[in-house]
Amino acid sequence: MDEFIRFEHLGQRFDLSEPLLARLIYRRPKKFLDAVDDVSFSIERGQTYALVGESGSGKSTIARMAVGLLLPSTGKVLIDGHDLHDRSRTEAEHRRIRQRLQMIFQSPFASLNPRWRVGSILAEPLRVFGLVEDRAAELGRVHELLDQVGLSASDARRFPHEFSGGQRQRISIARALASNPDFIVCDEPTSALDVSVQAQVLNLLKQLQRDLGLTYLFITHDLAVVRVMAHRIGVLKSGKLVEEQATAELIESPQSDYTKMLIRSAPRIGSIQARTGMSQA
């Protein structure tokens, strides 16, 4: 097996102190929150690693550190063995690394600039990374991206508000694909979508992984979703990794009490069979 990304003793400490003046007047100490605390794991190339946790578990913070949007307070993110935050690299090298890392966000509403046409949204990464020679090539690539996510070429002229939530999430996926990345962080990509649309987006993500050999870090609170999406699962609680297993093992035979509780609490349609016997009036 071939490791793509490794997180080593990753930590993120947020300073929640009051302003300096208030601290001096009321003699309050500085306050810190360890949003992520000594988390280590790695993801194999072409596989999906799911980070599962409830609100405040630090999963989104890890997501942002994984793509370089947030600098870790401690620890390292290694991509193919190279430190993502190595300061000795030149801007051009940084750019090459950035191009390989992309992200799909949770909100289908906030993740697309409402004032930009879809075509411009998709063309921006192409231009920034210098991936197309001229306007014609740019347009061709935009149409190809739209086709890849199941939208049509004419959608390039429309604005985000003309699309449904699921379609907007497809546009987000197309934007992430534009720079030909190897690795995509999916931060709760379907939690704001309706169930029937969620299935479409999850299937699309799986399809793209098979076709393009993508590596995913999948962030979610939904164990049912990770069961069909992930090769491996890590369970996060208050910034710490409490358990990590291959998907089937983790769900069938969880080790930690917290994981057991999460699995027990997940609402399931099948529970109706168990209930029907006793609740018949």
Partner: protein
């Protein structure tokens, strides 16, 4: 077929235009503002006389009441004349031009300044934000007209005397512009702080765009609708500020009288019975400021999604 429609058709079909058509007050305000702006632009063509051409003035026409033939010359003036026999209608049309020019340029200055500082403060945060907003706070504790007088006084003091009248209008614009940037900066800062947390900005950061590009290309287009509202309301304020300054005698020079200058001249004659010299410029100023303000109110209500 949807995308092929022209911008104009889209505008006619928009909720914005629909709202506009349904509000009679807004329609009337719009007509008044457009008429006054057209009068100001076409002053040379529509004004009966050029009030600043000494050759066209006849002192015998002085103090002619509106709509009455002059006792000596027999000429009739719609709005009457002032002490020097200047046609008041023409003076108002030319005064309108000065008032609107000063108002609009001052608002543009305030807008550019306020939007830039607001974007910077909101996006960067930290000490830059503190510095800009504390300056804004301090400025807000003084009435803006006082700030304008102060800036006007300092600027004039620094200028050589022979340039004073020549640059009076520019100084006036800068004084009013500098005194009105704060509301722009505050609003833009607030909206920027909300927008910069949105995921489309994160996506832009992810591909390595710099702060400048993110502010200009991504955030700026999304903070413009409140700016438009403030600009409209500030235009009314700027026009009144200009009139106030000119009324106080520290604004437009007598060689280029604005509506405020005309009102100042007019009030000298109020008690001697020549009421029209004060009334007509005042009514024009009132109509202009009120209409602009009503348009601003309507814009605010229409563009604010929370009131929908």
């Amino acid at each position: 077929m949807n995308g092929e429609r022209g911008a104009w058709q889209r505008f006619l079909a928009s909720d914005f235009f629909y709202d506009f058509k349904r509000s009679p007050v807004t329609l009337v305000s719009f007509v008044i503002v457009v008429t006054l702006i057209l009068l100001a632009i076409l002053a040379d063509l529509v004004a009966p006389t050029n009030p600043f051409d000494p050759a066209s003035l006849n002192l015998m026409n002085g103090f002619t009441p509106p709509m009455e033939p002059n006792a000596f010359t027999g000429e009739t003036f719609l709005f009457g004349t002032d002490d020097q026999g200047r046609d008041l209608l023409s003076a108002i049309i030319y005064g309108l031009r000065v008032s609107l020019f000063v108002g609009l340029t001052a608002v543009i200055l305030a807008m550019v300044l306020g939007v830039s500082l607001g974007l910077l403060a909101g996006y960067r945060g930290g000490w830059i934000d503190s510095l800009i907003m504390r300056i804004a706070d301090i400025q807000m504790t003084f009435p803006s007209i006082l700030i304008a007088v102060l800036i006007f006084g300092v600027a004039r003091g620094l200028l050589p005397p022979d340039l004073r009248d020549e640059l009076a209008i520019s100084v006036l614009i800068i004084a009013i512009g500098l005194s009105e940037w704060v509301p722009f900066a505050r609003t833009v800062r607030g909206t920027t702080m909300v927008e910069k947390e949105k995921e489309y900005v994160q996506a832009a950061r992810l591909i390595g765009l710099g702060s400048g590009q993110i502010m200009l290309r991504h955030i700026l287009p999304n903070v413009l609708s409140p700016v438009l509202v403030i600009a409209t309301i500030t235009l009314a304020l700027a026009i009144i500020a200009e009139a106030t300054l000119s009324f106080l005698g520290v604004g437009a020079p007598p060689t280029e009288p604005s509506l405020g200058t005309l009102i100042r001249i007019g009030q000298d004659f109020l008690f001697s019975g020549e009421w029209w010299i004060l009334l007509f410029p005042s009514v024009t100023l009132l109509a202009l400021a009120l209409s602009v303000n009503l348009l601003g109110d309507w814009l605010r209500d229409t563009l604010n999604p929370r009131l929908k």
